[in-house]
Structure formats: C-alpha cells, structure tokens
Amino acid sequence: MSPASVNGQPAEGLDGITIAELVARQGLPGRGIAVARNGEVVPRSSWSTVTVESGDTIDIVTAVAGG
C-alpha cells in the first residue's frame, strides 16, 4: 500500500493515528480547518476516533471568510 498523503504530498508514519493527532503533528490549530479523509470532511467531533489508514488521501482546508 502507498503511504497516506496530506494535501497531495506523501506522508510516512501516519497509519493508525487519529485525525486529531495528525492535525497536531502538522502544527495546525485545532480550529478553523476542515479535514477531509478520502474526499469526505470528518466532523470535528469525530477527530479523536477516526484514524488515518494506509493509502488515505487527507486534505486540510483552512476556513477563510473574505467576501
């Protein structure tokens, strides 16, 4: 299996960690972002239970407010 990718970049060593841990490892704030696993946004309330699996595509979208 290929490693998981984050925002299009292959990332090693993420298998089995939770989304919450992933966010922390990326040095991101725990708020103001949406994390999509394989194209589906993981609700914030599930970050500590949903885990990254081998081959997953993770996308992190930062909320913006400009209009």
């Binding site: 704030p29 708020r31 103001g32 972002i33 949406a34 999509a36 194209g39 589906e40 946004v41 609700p43 914030r44 309330s45 996308d59 979208v61 930062t62 909320a63 913006v64 407010a65 400009g66 209009g67």
Partner: protein, 391 residues
C-alpha cells in the same frame, strides 16, 4: 371558392358546440382540458383558470406537445366562438376525437359571471428579455415567473455580492435585498463590479441599486444600509427564499448561520482569500450547516482578511457567479446543488475540488441534541451561545 361565412358554417357543422354553462360542467369532468386559442395580449387580460393557452396560429405546431392525449375532452374557446370553431375543426383533422367549441367564447363566459382570472404570464418585453431562459425546458415560462416571484438577500455588496447581484438581477430574480453599511472606496473597484469611479464616496447599497435597476427594471432592489447584527438579523432575513453570504468576517458568518438555521432559510456560502475560494450550500436540517463543517473559526493570527492579505480581483467573479448559479438552482429546484459538498477553487492551479460534508450529529447549532438557538453577537472566537437554563 367558399366565403368566410360558408367556411365558418362548414366548420361548425363538423364540430360539437356547447354553451358556457355546459362547458363549465364538462370542464370539471374526467379527462377534460380547456384550451384558450386567443392571442397572448387577450389571454393576459383574463382567462379561464387552468386553461391551456395556445394561440391559434401555433395550434398545429404545438398542440401535440401541449395536449398529447388525442382522446382528451378538449373544450376550445376564443373570445366569441369563431376562432374556436375553426380551431376545433383543425384539432379533429389532427385526430383529436373529443373536441368541443364554446359558444360565445370567453366574452360570454365572463358576462355570465363564470370564474376567470388574470393569468400570471410574462409581458412581451419579458418574453424577449428572458428568451434564452424560456428556451430551456428546465426553466421555461413557469421557471421564469418563479424567479420573478423570488426573493434573494445578498449579504454584502462587495467582491462576492457584486457578480452574484448582477447575474441574479439579469436572470430576473424579482426581489433582491442587499445589506451593506460601507461606502464605495477606490480600492474596492479592482473587484467590486457593481460600483464605479463616479460612485466613490456613495453608499454601496445605493450604488448597487442604481446598477441593478439599470441592468433590469423588473427587479425590486431592497437596500439595508446597516450593520448586520444580532439585533436585526432575524428581521432582515425574514421572508427571503435564499441568502447569499458574501460577508467578510467570521463573526457575521456564524451569526448568519445561526439565524438562517433558526428561520430555515438556505444559505449559499461563498468565501475568498488571495487566490482561493470556496462555495457550498447550507440547507437547514436537510444538509450540514456552517458549524457542522467548521465548528469554530481559525485563530485570528492565522485568518487575515483580504484587506490584509490581498485577493486577486477576478477571483470573486468566479466564486460569486457560482453562488448565483446555486441560488437559481435552489429557487427552481434544478440539478444537484452544493448542499453537503464544499467546492474548493484554486485559481493558481486552476482546479476545482469537491469534498463531501455531512451533518455533524454533535453540531451545536443544528444537531439533534443542540439546544435552543440563541441569536447574539459573536466575538472573534464565535463560540455558540448557550441558552440560559430554565429557571
């Protein structure tokens, strides 16, 4: 060569005719259809409710699409009963087996006090203006009339509000509300195409109204030159069919989310930053809300505004136009909206991506266990307000 009188007598001898009283009874029967063959201007001044309108000049061309059932009991009327007699004969020749002409036509029907109404229909000018919509079966006259009857509220007459408002006005959305408390500044004109150089210093809502009514006089532009806040948001959004969110800060976006969920008004959300934009549709309780997707805004130091970080001027043109499309799709119940999907646009990559967004069962605003929604001002943290415990 027969004369007109002879032709009429010939037609009448070949068809069945009934008086309006009989026609009214028969029209209520099974498989009955009233067919109005008068000209559009006559029809617009009054017609029998529920009648199919097809001017006699287009009868042969269009009847099979308008009344496909050749066994239907078709009651044809015109103004006085002459054109309908000829039309009835034509229908028989086309294979319609149960056709009747109404003696005395609409004039006698009306004189006898039978029900009639002024049908909602497009004027000649509107027919011309919206011709390209009328050609789309998915819009058509019914859809265009629905747009003209619709009310859309635009939050902000800025980057996103400008293209959204222009296209919604052009499309014939009948009522467009615009809320904005700013005045036009020269630095707006790089992207806010509702305004222009002459309007610098003018209130944005006034400038917007001028541009939109010049674009389409059908549109009633309602302006709100106020700051959207907890004290006025529920009153302002009340009665609108769709809200287009083009505001420029997180506290207002969360306020709008809570208020729209409370009032159950769909929101077409758009946001822009530098070279990136996002669009989605929040349809209260039917799909996720803003808080299901992003429960809280990013820390202020990570969320600079466009006035601090810049924005490519064309970007809101793309994002605001997609918001206008989604708005029309919601109003006309067309296609698949972005409800439950976040569309993310990157102008530098020139790429669109979509992410599925689900309702969060733990959403503090719209989740099944969410408490009563409290509308109150947000600080920069935008944390949901908790309803006071009952005493």
């Amino acid at each position: 060569m027969p004369t007109f009188r002879e032709m009429l007598a010939q037609a009448k001898s070949a068809i069945r005719e009934v008086d309006p009283a009989t026609a009214e009874v028969e029209a209520a029967g099974p498989n009955a259809i009233m067919l109005d063959v008068r000209e559009p201007d006559e029809y617009q001044q009054g017609s029998i409710p529920g009648a199919v309108h097809l001017p006699r000049g287009n009868l042969e061309i269009s009847i099979e699409s308008r009344i496909p059932d050749k066994g239907a009991h078709v009651l044809v009327y015109c103004a006085g009963g002459v054109r309908s007699a000829f039309a009835a004969k034509t229908l028989q020749d086309l294979g319609y087996s149960d056709v009747t002409s109404v003696i005395g036509g609409f004039n006698r029907w009306k004189d006898e006090g039978r029900p009639w109404s002024t049908p909602k229909s497009l004027t000649t000018e509107q027919r011309n203006r919206y011709q390209r919509h009328l050609l789309l079966p998915e819009v058509g006259e019914a859809g265009q009339l629905k747009l003209l009857d619709s009310k859309v509220l635009l939050l902000g007459a800025g980057g996103l509000g400008s293209p959204a408002a222009l296209y919604l006005a052009a499309a014939g959305v009948g009522t467009i509300g615009i809320i904005d408390m700013d005045v036009v500044d020269a630095s707006n004109l790089q992207r806010q195409i509702l305004h222009n150089t002459e309007r610098i210093g003018e209130r944005k809502v006034d400038s917007a109204k001028k541009t939109l009514t010049a674009m389409n006089p059908d549109v009633n532009v309602v302006t709100y030159d106020v700051r959207l806040g907890a004290d006025n948001v529920l009153d302002i959004i009340d009665g609108y069919d769709v809200i287009v969110d083009g505001t420029d800060n997180f506290p207002t976006r969360y306020l709008v989310n809570d208020a729209s969920v409370l009032k159950r008004i769909p929101v077409v959300h758009g946001s822009i930053f530098r070279f990136e934009g996002a669009v989605t549709v929040f349809n209260p309780y039917l799909g996720p809300c803003y808080r299901c997707m992003i429960p809280e805004p990013p820390p202020a130091e990570l969320a600079p505004s466009c006035s601090e970080a810049g924005v490519l001027g064309v970007l809101p043109g793309i994002v605001g136009s997609i918001q206008a499309i989604e708005t029309i799709k919601i109003l006309l119940d067309l296609g698949d909206t972005l409800q439950g999907r976040l569309l993310s646009y990157d102008a530098l990559e020139q790429s669109f991506r979509t992410f599925k967004v689900h309702q969060d069962p733990n959403c503090p605003t719209c989740g099944p266990n969410a408490g009563e929604i409290v509308i109150a001002e947000y600080d920069e943290l935008c944390m949901p307000h908790v309803a006071a415990a009952p005493a």
